[in-house]
Amino acid sequence: MKKVYGSAAEALDGLLFDGMLIAAGGFGLCGIPELLIAAIRDAGTKDLTVASNNAGVDDFGLGVLLQTKQVKKMMSSYVGENKEFMRQYLGGELELEFNPQGTLAERMRAGGSGIPGFYTKTGVGTQIAEGKEVKVFDGEEYILERGIFADLSIVKAWKADETGNLVFRKTARNFNPPAAMCGKTCVVEVEEIVPTGSLDPDHIHLPGVYVHRLIQGEHEKRIEQRTVRTREDA
């Protein structure tokens, strides 16, 4: 089975349709599938619902799909870095479903594991609990959250072998494994595809069973907040 494709556009061929649900990896601008996002922008697919912790910034990350008004709804935990997002949201052009960050990650993990719902203490007694089933276990209240079953997962990893076994790098792992798990089809972009057999099987972060299509490409990897200390401080 061939998983390696020549470009992001080729890798997405036949997978995109208007109104689809896409799960995207990344935290802020760290570990985002920037090549696949650009290809979805170029494809012009509309009315997207995107499950992603954040919504990028105005001109990078998922922000580029907001600029082109391809997104109908975001499922996120924090969207504070994006002015265009706020403009569309306050103008009623964009729906927003806030999810606590851990609930969003677990909803993806659960969906990818065939679990349609789970109970959690997160959000009990808050706005997040409104309309959700409450169940008491051992005297404590929990709310029901649903697993996410996405039409497509778009993911960024550091390295892959040709069978789609993935290795991530540092905090760029973040939402990528759970996002990869919850899609019917998962397309992954990496910085380097290495020959099968050259990754240590004990060091695979996400096995290739979750990965259907794979591309290698150059990444901008923009830094959102550059914070440094001077050598004199040390």
Partner: protein, 213 residues
Amino acid sequence: MPSDIKGWDRNRMAARAAQELEDGMYVNLGIGIPTLVANYVGDKDITLQSENGMLGMGPFPFEGDEDPDLINAGKQTITELKRTAYFDSAMSFGMIRGGKIAAAILGAMEVSETGDLANWMIPGKLVKGMGGAMDLVAGVQKVVVVMDHQNKAGESKLLKACTLPLTGKAVVNRIITNLGVLDVVDGGLRIVECADGVTEQEIRDATEATIVA
């Protein structure tokens, strides 16, 4: 620094919060004053969690050493330590929800006398999202809040009931303000400690929440 705020300043509050941490703890620090707590842990063996997928968070990098693949939950560039471990967001919140993280030190807009916490949205103002705050307060073993005791109008932020949308219900254990330290106990808040130059009566006068003996 001249200030009309009585008691501890930001750094003194952070230093006091650091006293809550014990050797061997795994801890999550929120944004703002809680971030400063890391400067005051001294010789204690504390491992900082960053909920985007890291245990063992190090200081900011030297200029030129920034790595776009290595950021904290505030999206700032950071460094790793010898003990550092990375993991995905589901495992990160698994350890938070599973009670493996000993404490979270967080900021607050309001706290109620029953330990309700409001720190994520003001209706009518720009809503950015709760991030991981709801998971943290619901899951970690101990929630310590660091906040100003009163707002700019001089009104208590320690209330009988929160007016803002909640981040969590009955989740706060200890409150550290510029005026002192208070615990959430049966029946209300108990004064544990007064800040330098602050009397118990001054704390009572500045607090709307019920103070119990």
